[in-house]
Amino acid sequence: MSDITSQSLFELTSNIKEKKLSSEEITKVFIDRAEKSKKLNVYVTDNFEKAIDQSKKFDSNPNFDLKLPGIPIAVKDLFCTNGVRTTAGSKILNNFVPTYESTVTQNLWSQGAILLGKLNCDEFAMGSSNETSFFGNVQNPVGENLVPGGSSGGSSAAVAANLTPVTIGTDTGGSIRQPASFTGTVGLKPTYGSCSRYGVVAFASSLDQAGPMTKNVRDCSMLLEVISSFDQKDSTSIDYKRNCYSKELSKDIKGKKIGIPKEYRVDNMPDEIEQLWKNGISYAKDCGAEIIDISLPHTNYALPTYYIVAPAEASSNLARYDGVKYGFRSPGQNLIEMYEKTRSEGFGDEVKRRIMIGTYVLSSGYYDAYYLKAQKVRQLIKKDFDDAFSKVDAILTPSTPSSAFKIGEKTNDPVSMYLNDIFTVPINLAGLPGISIPAGKDKNNYPLGLQVIGKPFDEQNILNISYALEDKINFKNDISDWWVSE
């Protein structure tokens, strides 16, 4: 049997069901490895003691009918976990212990999973490199002093470094797919309305979605099946019949029409990414898919639109952090001073910047020029995809315009940081499902990803296409464990 921590979710669940491994055994090896991997800084809060107790409890009365039987899982610290500190990577929630559970994490525990701990992320999920976290940056296991992407950077690093079998992240503009691409892992952002937002710390409510982050496509289908559910507690949750994604997973994509949007060939894109994309296209052809050139004419307007819509919603969502009912409070002579000091000391620079943008675009006299304009352009971006999907079943693009960059490289230039999300943001604006799979490496041996975008609620189709491509690509991450201390 291969090393336990490097096993896929599929292997681990099989081994548990066949009684070759116990939940306690598995849980302990992940904890041991985490203790030796502190240098990566993936954990904000661990739940190790309770996890071992719960694994023993599972083993003493196992239920092998569950989909995640006794499987230990760490999750992004943006999901509220009952009784376990939830910080969203912010000082302002440093002492916050939820008294309720998010629906997606509840779905994990209901299927037998055990909480290992809470994973580092950019503050309030605002960032593309995990450098905005109050708890410090995360190291990418791919190489020293490389960012793991963001905002789900602790999650992507934890999966790539074999510190959790799988994890869940959240994606508002690319926060699952970009870090997956930077770490050679798989990440899927579901259709808006698939996974409940209840109990997920809100960033931009019309864009936020939770989704699986895994080592491979099959694990991704298994985890999506568990977390995707209709939920009365989320007013935008959609009641539709969800597939048994893992059961219906198939490499047969013969005759599928895959669109290639010419607008994703951006200026200064490295040749390696162009080549990666070409390879992906030829693999899809080998699998019997039909390749069709398409146009998404408003692609270049997606990022500017996003940087109005997302900060506007964020400034409204984050108004609740005022030091009154929970979270950090800085004392003041009067109520207003308390608010202002609490928010000034409690939020980091990037969050403040986005609150300021959002406040400005929503302020009196500017609403029409910015927010309304952005909502209109968002309609045009959505229409681009509607038109494209009348001709094709899915769209294939690169996941990111570059591979992982060095820590500190882009922190002083917000706009260049924002450009990282150029291929992922349009999908959130249109509410579509998208998946990033590892597809190759650049000259530095850093992973690069390809993105498959689907029609609304067509997660099965993009999983199947990814499953077929994954087989042809045969990606190997070969990470050296450089950070491990004995």
């Binding site: 400034s315 929970y326 202002e340």
Partner: protein
């Protein structure tokens, strides 16, 4: 258009985030860079485009108006920043 220091201070007041002059100057630079990038949207004529207000294309669901809550008073007060088992405490509001 450019955002001046006075505007930055005004926004910070609206956002209830106190900032000193040094931070305000830094933010002024950042915001101007970001808005320069955002101005690209003005290239598009959107006169006849309907604003997209909801991506989910569903109407809000109705539910029965019935009391479901348990007694969660303690849970709600549990994370209160200042110790007081009965109320949230804030600085004096009425002089």
């Amino acid at each position: 258009m450019t955002i001046d220091l006075k505007t930055v201070k005004h926004i910070s007041k609206l956002a209830r985030i106190s900032i000193d002059d040094e931070k305000a100057n830094k933010l002024k630079g950042d915001l101007n860079n970001i808005f320069e990038f955002i101005e690209k949207l003005n290239e598009l004529n959107t006169d006849n485009v309907q604003a997209l207000t909801s991506i989910a294309e569903t109407t809000l669901r109705f539910r029965k108006d019935e009391i479901k809550s348990e007694n969660i008073r303690e849970k709600i007060l549990k994370n209160s920043p200042e110790e007081n088992k009965d109320f949230f405490v804030v600085p004096k509001v009425v002089e």
